[in-house]
Subunit: 394 residues, 4 copies
Amino acid sequence: MVTASASGRIAPRLRLGIVGGGQGAFIGAVHLTGARLDDRYELVAGALSSDPHKAKASAPAFRIPDERAYTSYAEMADKEAARPDGIEAVIVATPNHTHYAICKTFLEAGIDVICDKPMTTTLADALDLVRLVRRTGLVFCLTHEYTAFAMVRQAREMVRRGDLGAIRIIQIEYPQEWLTTKLEDTGFKQATWRTDPAKSGPAGALADIGTHGIHTARYITGLELAEVCADLTAFVPGRKLDDNAHVLLRYQGGARGMLWASQCAPGTENDLKVRIFGEKGSLTWRLRWPNELFFSPLDGPHQLLSRGRGEMLPLARHASHLPAGHPEGLHDAFAVLYRDAADAIIERRYGIPAPETSKTFPDVESGARMVGFIEACVASHKGGGTWVKTEFDV
Amino acid sequence: MVTASASGRIAPRLRLGIVGGGQGAFIGAVHLTGARLDDRYELVAGALSSDPHKAKASAPAFRIPDERAYTSYAEMADKEAARPDGIEAVIVATPNHTHYAICKTFLEAGIDVICDKPMTTTLADALDLVRLVRRTGLVFCLTHEYTAFAMVRQAREMVRRGDLGAIRIIQIEYPQEWLTTKLEDTGFKQATWRTDPAKSGPAGALADIGTHGIHTARYITGLELAEVCADLTAFVPGRKLDDNAHVLLRYQGGARGMLWASQCAPGTENDLKVRIFGEKGSLTWRLRWPNELFFSPLDGPHQLLSRGRGEMLPLARHASHLPAGHPEGLHDAFAVLYRDAADAIIERRYGIPAPETSKTFPDVESGARMVGFIEACVASHKGGGTWVKTEFDV
Amino acid sequence: MVTASASGRIAPRLRLGIVGGGQGAFIGAVHLTGARLDDRYELVAGALSSDPHKAKASAPAFRIPDERAYTSYAEMADKEAARPDGIEAVIVATPNHTHYAICKTFLEAGIDVICDKPMTTTLADALDLVRLVRRTGLVFCLTHEYTAFAMVRQAREMVRRGDLGAIRIIQIEYPQEWLTTKLEDTGFKQATWRTDPAKSGPAGALADIGTHGIHTARYITGLELAEVCADLTAFVPGRKLDDNAHVLLRYQGGARGMLWASQCAPGTENDLKVRIFGEKGSLTWRLRWPNELFFSPLDGPHQLLSRGRGEMLPLARHASHLPAGHPEGLHDAFAVLYRDAADAIIERRYGIPAPETSKTFPDVESGARMVGFIEACVASHKGGGTWVKTEFDV
Amino acid sequence: MVTASASGRIAPRLRLGIVGGGQGAFIGAVHLTGARLDDRYELVAGALSSDPHKAKASAPAFRIPDERAYTSYAEMADKEAARPDGIEAVIVATPNHTHYAICKTFLEAGIDVICDKPMTTTLADALDLVRLVRRTGLVFCLTHEYTAFAMVRQAREMVRRGDLGAIRIIQIEYPQEWLTTKLEDTGFKQATWRTDPAKSGPAGALADIGTHGIHTARYITGLELAEVCADLTAFVPGRKLDDNAHVLLRYQGGARGMLWASQCAPGTENDLKVRIFGEKGSLTWRLRWPNELFFSPLDGPHQLLSRGRGEMLPLARHASHLPAGHPEGLHDAFAVLYRDAADAIIERRYGIPAPETSKTFPDVESGARMVGFIEACVASHKGGGTWVKTEFDV
């Protein structure tokens, strides 16, 4: 709303559908809240669950009329594409192994896609989506939502204008604690599919959250990985996928880094932290206090940059809703991502130009990079911890 | 959405109007985002500005149809009350001196009211609203939004179950920095009316933010003030209202406290902090890191309570959208307040019972208490810093 | 040692005596550690306890020979003054009510004095000491040790060079938790005398720690108090002196402030914090993280100044032993104070000039100011919380 | 002093010598301050520099008489061993490449040794010292001082009593910033020898500070490394030794970890942090705030353990000088280590039993383990980043 009036542009709400997000889901509700927050979308259709009964039963809570509460995503794509008032965009908020087929179906139906991460479970599928998006010209937004926090965007601009000098060291960590015990044996749905290779893909914590960390660092620095050396562990007895990933990183151009991703680290809650060190200074951003960015120039005092206070660079201003000292959270970041995607979709569909500052949302190539990273780490690990190249053409 | 499905209850969206919030406004957008976040309202009408041109020009950005974009709140109350699909609730997000008349008008038109704080500029007006709300039985929600943060609600429940023992000391501070220079001379609307006694009422920082602090402490502890001794200062030359308030507090029952509210404290951004000390322990909550609550029992280690991690008491669970480590912010708190108000309105209008945990939102009596507090402080200050009783019948 | 070689000056160790500090004492050991740390003193005599048996029994642990282990301070002053190798300086680390007589005795014996705070229990006694010190020209150092932390000294220099502009607001707090229960009834010596008006003087927490806070702010800002309004409370039933003090402060020149001192605030440990707000910026120093100073200029990002990193002003460099990131603590601050006092004593006795940066240690006038502050607060409180002037000639 | 009286034991001060520590040195002064703080030593002799002129010129500042100010450590060992009042212990505070020969010389002269780290520059030398110490029965203390912070010792005891359950993950980081530019080219002595393979040994940051981190984690957990995979980098052009080390760690028994040590990480000052994660909880200790230990049990709230507050386990009590809220720093940790070493030396020389809680100081075997770790990392790195076993018999 703020932005709409700020930009002076008033567009219709986009007609939105969702796949996933029904009863027992977690991230679907976050997507929808993000979509609602800046008022660019109206949810009108859904295939809310792969369980037909749940799909139907979940619809009223979303105010989705019964005739647009589908029991299969394929039917939804078909019927919505055929309606004059059919959905213009779809959210894909389902377990990883289904992303590829769902995205492909909606893209082929001419519907813009906002997809949860990781994009696919194989690099081949990911590259296929890249080709499809390029061919169709549709909007594809991957919800690496941490890139949408204002201070992450501030970091990106600061790196780009040279505040750190050449980047040397990238320290990434994303520990969680929720899978410290064997939660998947209790029937908790979020744990069950994430620890199942058939649904989650070839990696666990590495894919589920490690890629968030890697992606955030890539967003900030613009650097691509060259080689990785991974030590993946399943600490919880009987678990099939890694619940802890230790990875050494070598970037193109010479920067070095580390990634620690874990889902069995008691006390860490959900503690993404990215630190970037250059020749002239460093930046630290931590999800726990997302409205802050710590900047240490080598030749001056440490600076605590606060969202909304002092110099906010254009990308950061664009991603900030509230004045300094009024905390923003995850919903606000999702809102920024959804607003950015909306602006791109509105540009494509209605010809209203999207602002330049809306154009950094994670795209299909980013998604492929992350799947490539997962595959390289898994290969490194299977090789006993060797260095594996991650460079490839997207 | 989450809550709707959690509770199994699906109600229609309430038809909502707003007074204020047009171009140049700040808090109106926050109200509307809060209203939208949990999807209990649909904005359908507005008197968006006291300037008729702005009132009309602002409407499209809010998707308000022209015929319901009113140029006067009185006309809006009249016409909406007469429509079969008229608004069920109204947001009052205007400068302080207008609250009383607007609230009165809508209450008399049978429309439930969600009003920004402070409620009125005189205690007489405040008590009149108390009587009116009691007589009409309408819902009245005052947006002291800090009471809607999950960890503030956790604090309230912890105090109530005796985790701190008898309360002894209450330290409240709410410094800001934005009025350190004479911003009102630059034409910045937010500063202009807030520093103008004709629009803001008899106090400046004390009323604008000091009451937020006092109210948050009252919400947590349930204690009422007995006496105050205030030292109010206008540090910025030429300013007519206090930009700094130092107040000693004596509570009924013997607790003592301090309030510091300032709008000329460089570096503080917007830093509400409330600390409660009892015989057995203490609690600290700070807006800057709202997902945390620091609890120190006298006989055990300091505890950092994190929203969503470990024991969350019912009020806190009710006010929490996201799992631990996924930060929530101001919009989420506004959303909780709007959801609570919606549940009360839905109960009144549709007979669907509101959950018990939705019933602590700040009401008209709270509003009167805060206006009474302002008047007592102003009297103390005018008396040269004497102790003035704040007890009165509401 | 560092400083000795840094300054190129090598002086003999000063012969040092101590009154107090025997078995069951707390602060005496801290004084002696501080004296030892920079190697400017050799402890050679003591009247370690007012209990003659303890006085003798404590001596071997201090390596004090039996003939210089006195059972009365008066005897110690007499005999040491008469010895050719008698003590040159004495530490007074006894309960408050004895400071005056002991200091007077040693000053009259020509021995330089390092005295714990508060200096005396009455302003009359304090002013008498002022006269005596002026008359004798002896060195008198009052151990308000917080003024000796490097970052407090940095704050002082920053205020003096105008980094904050004119000072407007001074927020001081010094809460502790150790007297939350009636510890004095358990026989714990530190609690017994501090809560006994006959030994502690007319105030409890206010005098014991409140003066530390007031003094630290005075050291940093150079401002003198004009008026106070105090609300003193003894929360613990049966306690005779305040265990909580709330004081409004008006400074000469127009600055306003607050002091909160408490010894019954669970969870606070020993949490001195001083915040200074001026027209152009603010400074925050907190004992808990003493190597940091938070500086917020109004027109730039928040700065975290770290001891040893970046621009350290001369007083701060002088007070810093270790490089950045190597934490210093209370012993280091005591060491700086003892080194400063030593340099003044060496200058007086040996004619070796003390460095300019050693000359800010708290003196006898500072001590009198603090006693005057206590008396004004007690008068305000007895008057029911009136404003009382604190200005007086020292 | 405190401890001496606490234990009721009064021993003579040990006669102490030092090698190194003269003009331009850094760590020597810290050693001597540590030695002085608890008053167990008297410095009486020194070979203060390898430069004979400096060795002599530095002596007066240390109050070392000229005849005991030696120009060679070998002469010092000879002459002191021959004196009836010769030194009982020696501090070795010289560049790494000299440690072996100096330690060997003093051990063979029957003088107890307190040596800076890393112990030697080759594993062969380290193992030779192990044998020599075992043969002579002398005390050998390696100053990995971080093990002497009270909260590190608290962590050790908590792990040992099972508060974390089986250890799974060990995250170690020790970044510094002081070598971000080519400081060694400016003639700054500390930089010059540390970046010179001839003086520092085969590794730079890894050896200088990485071993501190590895050792601290080993002290806390008791776990030995099994394998390492290292990526060492010299970011600063022309530098011969690593200024950044990234190491993957596999521990005996299955725990995994990471080490990041860097001396070119702007903004980090000197930021050792060790995090230990087990099946049931985690512990975090950070040098920046050394009086705190963060403990997160999986099944309860996060706990902030403060030195001196609440349950302090015996090793932690032993290592704590001051009450809660009175910060301790690096000097206090050195003091604990020196006190522990003194107690062992006093036991050996005077038969006064050392307290059980004094017996965890880093010994010659610890030193060999760390040198072995360095060699394994260097081998891994030279192999292109392969996994190299670190297990060996000490």
